[in-house]
Symmetry: none
Subunit: 204 residues, 4 copies
DNA sequence: TATGAATGAGTCTTCATTCAT
DNA sequence: AATGAATGAAGACTCATTCAT
């Protein structure tokens, strides 16, 4: 292992590192950590295998870097690039937007979700990242709700449940494995469910 | 080359195969498929590496066999060994039982859930198993509800949402990563949520 | 390795050993020594793998035993089951018979010839067997010729050349890989060649 | 960077591949395909085991590559690097040269002949190579003879017989297993035999 | 900096041989 | 005598990582 992992300062070097991070993380998410080798990553990034180890300590490091850079797109797409403007009088639209946004991002990240999730248990750093981010997001949504006039009546728990509901729904819609299920109905049920969850918390 | 994978008839042989299946599946669930090698599996099962290949075609075969044998405990513990007697007048107790049962089993299976889930995408057989079982379980619960007087008013979708809620809750409780969250409150919220979901479907 | 390799005295035991020898040698000749495993041999012989090692020291021993028992059929079929009655006035018929006989036997032994030949170099015992047998056969033919009135004028060398010619011809005929070659013509050329070889040695 | 700077790299790579091919093929020919392992090959070539698989798909590939590169030396040494200038008035010298050349090369190739021959039956590619080469060589010799004024009177068959005679002779001389045989006499007999074979085909 | 050739430890799998029954 | 389950050493091949250029 090299002692000197370079932290690139120059533009070209930074771009190169980012290319490796992106190519590596993409491949890992698509095919799994153990089904992706460094040669592939280097090739996909358009660099030599050797250079990878100038920017990264090891293969695992690429994953962590990728996770920090692109993890939000996979795990918490609902708050990414999304200026949530809450119109209390139109929670339906709001929730629909959230869900659609989530689905859109989730589709892009494809298989990544489970692939990375499975590492949460075997890997401390991945777990750390995930739980930290999850908390941040929960709090962030909580804050938004409060600043929009919601009462803080077990809000953390409610937000968590809400996110679980959405996550579950989106998963189902994306992989669409159950032909016998009607996703429009399901979406409406989830939205109603969420509204029910918060019904006593809306000031008026 | 002889391609005789022995299907053990004798009691001792069957026991041995089961030992390997169990030891192998446990290790795979605990450490991941790629972090478990055949030598470890053999050692954990108390056999030599050679014998493994008399009972299994390859390492992958152990995973599939284990999945078929123990997969239900991991993915669908709520209906396993659980005579659900629905007392309509006491849905709270019923749901609490389900959740507790789920948590108990989930704790045993430990990390297995995500570890295996991640293979759903890279592996056809694992996916096949999972989606088939998920459907079976949804239908099974749906049937139980109907035979207990529930109306079939988008029941599939509702059951799916319910299972997602429970799964999500249990996950949270088991890994208990968010210190700021109150799990009793969360459980009650989920139970209320589920009851709300089915409120119009209960005949009386 | 067992100290006690049983030399079977009883009829059933002898039959069993012979079955293993035959099955083993057949498989080795057909598929090669390294492409034949003991499980296959046992199965083909209708016995258990364990019993093989009561009659044979090791796998190699089966080959040697088979070679001693059936090797002549493969390497020296021309003198096997063949009462050579030399009619000096009809050398053509004689040689034609020899050749046809050789071809017939060679076809049965199929690939065995090269398979075993290749072991002559890597294996002392196989080499020993082969050269001893080759000498025996050369001498045997030489004796027959002399007792039929041939002069011993470099007879050993001539017989050796003759056998080489026949071997080569038969090989060609059996595997028949060269579509552009006429085997009848070739056979006649070889016969003429052999006759020419001995032309000064025939007393009259 | 100039392309010419990279040139020596490629040269070195080619040399390395050739080293592996040579070392591998030598070992295989000497000890047999199944008695040669990749670690030995790598060691003999002075490289690591890993690098072998950058140049070759698998162990078998080394054999095939070696066969294509050095097979002619083993199977068809008589025409290799040998400008046959036929002096019709001195067939004896010509044939003696051929035989000596053959023996010289054959001695180098050692046991390879049978070792590879034995694979002709179990292996399609080896067989393909051999029969193609054998045909090429027969035709090549035939052409040489014709261009030197020989009549095409069953020439293919005669050339084939001639080659068989030489092959057989050389084999005998090289392994020299029969003490009772006089190889000078044998050589002369073979030469006479060949001359007899073609006696009617020489134009004058 | 950059390359990609080279390393070698680690993995799955096979199979001759032994052993408990 | 016989079975066939069990052993474990050995082999082909992979791949994260290093190094000569």
């Amino acid at each position: 292992m090299l002692d000197t992992i370079r932290e690139p300062k120059q533009k070209r070097a930074i771009e190169k590192k980012e290319k490796i991070t992106k190519a590596g993380f993409d491949l890992i998410c698509k095919n799994g950590y153990y089904n992706t080798n460094t040669a592939e990553i280097a090739k996909a990034a358009g660099v030599s295998t050797g250079i990878v180890y100038q920017y990264f300590k090891d293969k695992y490091d690429i994953l962590i870097e990728g996770l920090e850079k692109y993890g939000d797109d996979i795990f918490f797409p609902m708050i990414k690039d999304n200026n949530i403007e809450i119109d209390i009088n139109d929670l339906n639209t709001l929730l629909n937007n959230m869900i659609n946004n989530y689905i859109k991002n989730h589709k892009i990240s494809n298989v990544a979700h489970e692939e990375i999730m499975s590492m949460i248990h075997s890997d401390k750093k991945v777990a750390e990242y995930y739980y930290k981010r999850e908390l941040e997001m929960t709090n962030s949504i909580k804050d938004i709700l409060i600043s929009n006039g919601f009462k803080d009546n077990n809000l953390s728990e409610k937000v968590h449940i809400m996110l679980g509901l959405i996550d579950n729904l989106c998963h189902e819609v994306i992989y669409h494995k159950h032909d016998h299920m009607n996703y429009d109905i399901m979406t409406n049920l989830v939205i109603d469910n969420i509204k029910e969850l918060f019904k006593d918390d809306i000031n008026n």
